[in-house]
Structures are given as C-alpha cells and as structure tokens.
C-alpha cells in the first residue's frame, strides 16, 4: 500500500474504498493474487467478477486543472484498465479518470455515485461492443 505511509494517504485510501463500495458497481480488494504493486486495489465488477479494474489513489490538494496538467502520463504496461482517483483527503472529495488501451479517456470526472456507475458501465459496454 503505497499510500498508507501517512495519515493523508491513509485517509485518501479510506475515502476511495468507501466511495467505490457505496457505488455498488464494484467490490474492492487488496489481497489479489499477483497484484501489480503499482496498484492500490483491484476493483471487481459485481455483475461479472471476470471483469477487473486496477485502482490507483493519489492524495492531493491540487485543483482539477492542476491535476490535468501534472498527471499526464499513465503506466505504460499495466495489464488491467486502471481507475485513477485524485483525492482531497480533507474535503473528502475528488475526481477520477479511466485508462483505456493504456491512455486516459476523456477528462477528469467528479467523484459522484451516479457518474461513477455510468462511466464504469459505459466502459464495459464499449469494451464488449468493440470486441464483438
């Protein structure tokens, strides 16, 4: 757990875990066989546990535009699609974005339950329609 070393990172972790579980769309685990150590958690799609996402959590006080400027590169060789969360650990709020084919998709999205559910479901629908 990269983030667990200080209280701010630890709080960011707790906030994301709560947010993801509360969405109802993914379950979350850190005890997954052969988990890539650059990931904080694995998110498992509840409707089909074969579908998994990597989760990376950044504790930050940057604004959305600063995050957009600062975090421009993804991990190049990550096998799973990755959800990046950028968390203001004091405001208990943040933004997220997904990678697709190892590049970011679209802009940063506010951490809201319905938006998160929509983006995850859309991602999966797009993935399956493209693979057929």
């Amino acid at each position: 757990m990269k983030n667990n070393q200080n209280i701010q990172g630890w709080r960011a972790d707790q906030i994301v875990k709560l947010f993801v579980l509360n969405s109802g769309v993914l379950s979350i685990t850190e005890n997954y066989p052969d988990i890539d150590d650059r990931l904080d958690y694995i998110g498992i799609y509840r409707e089909n546990p074969q579908i998994k996402f990597g989760i990376v959590i950044k504790a930050t006080k940057y604004s959305q535009s600063e995050i957009d400027r600062k975090y421009t590169s993804t991990q190049e060789d990550m096998e799973l699609p990755v959800i990046y969360f950028f968390i203001d650990y004091d405001k208990e709020a943040g933004v997220f974005r997904l990678t697709k084919n190892r590049t970011y998709t679209g802009t940063l999205i506010p951490m809201e339950k319905e938006k998160f559910k929509f983006e995850i479901n859309k991602y999966i629908n797009d993935y399956y329609s493209n693979s057929q």
Partner: protein, 163 residues
C-alpha cells in the same frame, strides 16, 4: 454490498477528520473478525504506549424516532455488556447514513459503560461526532489511560459521552 464495511469505513473517516489540533485518530477495521468490536482506534502522536479505544458502529437509513429524535439503530443488551466489559474506553457510533453522498452522513457517539439490563432500541443524539467532540474524545481517552478519569470503572459512568 457489504453494509458493515461501509459503516466502519465511514466511522473511520469521521474519526480521522482534521481538527484544530490536527488529525487525532487512526483506525483499524475489525468488523467480522471479533465479536462486538468494529473499530480499533489509537490516538496519533508520539505517545508511548499508544492510547487506544474500541468502537461498535451501527448505521441506518431510517432516520430518527418521532418522539425524542433518537437515531433508529438498535443494539442488544448482550452486545452492550460485552462492550462494557472491556477494560478500555468503548463507544457506540451511530450513523445517519446518506446513501447518495455518504460523506454528508451524520455520526453520533455514546460511551458504553456500566451494566445494561436491556438493549437500546434507538440511540440518543446528544453527541454529534464533530470536530469539538473529536477533541473531547481524545482528551477523555488520554485521561482514561493516564488514570485521571477512570470512567471505565463499571461503577462509574463519568464520560462526557454518556448515553
């Protein structure tokens, strides 16, 4: 959805909120691994040995009683007595859970001490788990471990968070 884990995470986030004295608590989620105790919390800082306490967490989306404005969470007599039997500060956290925005939920705290002859059908809402009460909670737990407020004594309920 694992409702228990969500409640524990929410209580953990509330306890670790920043106060005028900084961040005061860090927690470990215990729920499911040990009866009665959902959270272990220790006070942050350089203090050795660590001052700690235990929490039972209950949440509801049902809101409050019409009479008395009590939170609609229940806890059995047996569970209360098991909590009260620890020789450590133990508390109940009740959460008015807001499903669409859990971070806007409201949490309440009560000390669990003494000998209970019946369970709680609902929880008093005198003590909101806010910044001021986080500081009071830290002071109370430190006083307990320093022996200056033995509210843990079963014959005494000298907690500011009494039910």
């Amino acid at each position: 959805m694992n409702d228990g884990e969500i409640s524990e995470l929410l209580a953990s986030i509330f306890l670790s909120r920043k106060t005028g004295q900084g961040y005061l608590f860090k927690t470990v989620l215990i729920g499911g691994k040990y009866p009665s105790i959902d959270l272990y919390a220790e006070i942050l800082g350089d203090n050795r040995p660590k001052n700690y306490c235990f929490f039972q967490v209950k949440s509801t989306i049902q809101g409050y009683t019409k009479r008395g404005n009590k939170l609609l969470v229940q806890i059995t007599k047996d569970k209360l007595n098991r909590l009260a039997n620890f020789n450590a500060p133990t508390y109940l956290i009740g959460i008015d859970y807001k499903e669409n925005d859990p971070f806007s939920s409201i949490a309440y705290i009560s000390a669990i001490r003494g000998n209970y002859t019946k369970g709680l059908p609902s929880m008093p809402t005198h003590h909101v788990l806010n910044e001021g009460n986080l500081i009071q909670l830290k002071n109370e737990i430190e006083a307990f471990w320093q022996g200056t407020n033995t509210f843990g004594n079963k014959n005494s309920t000298n907690s500011i968070f009494d039910l």
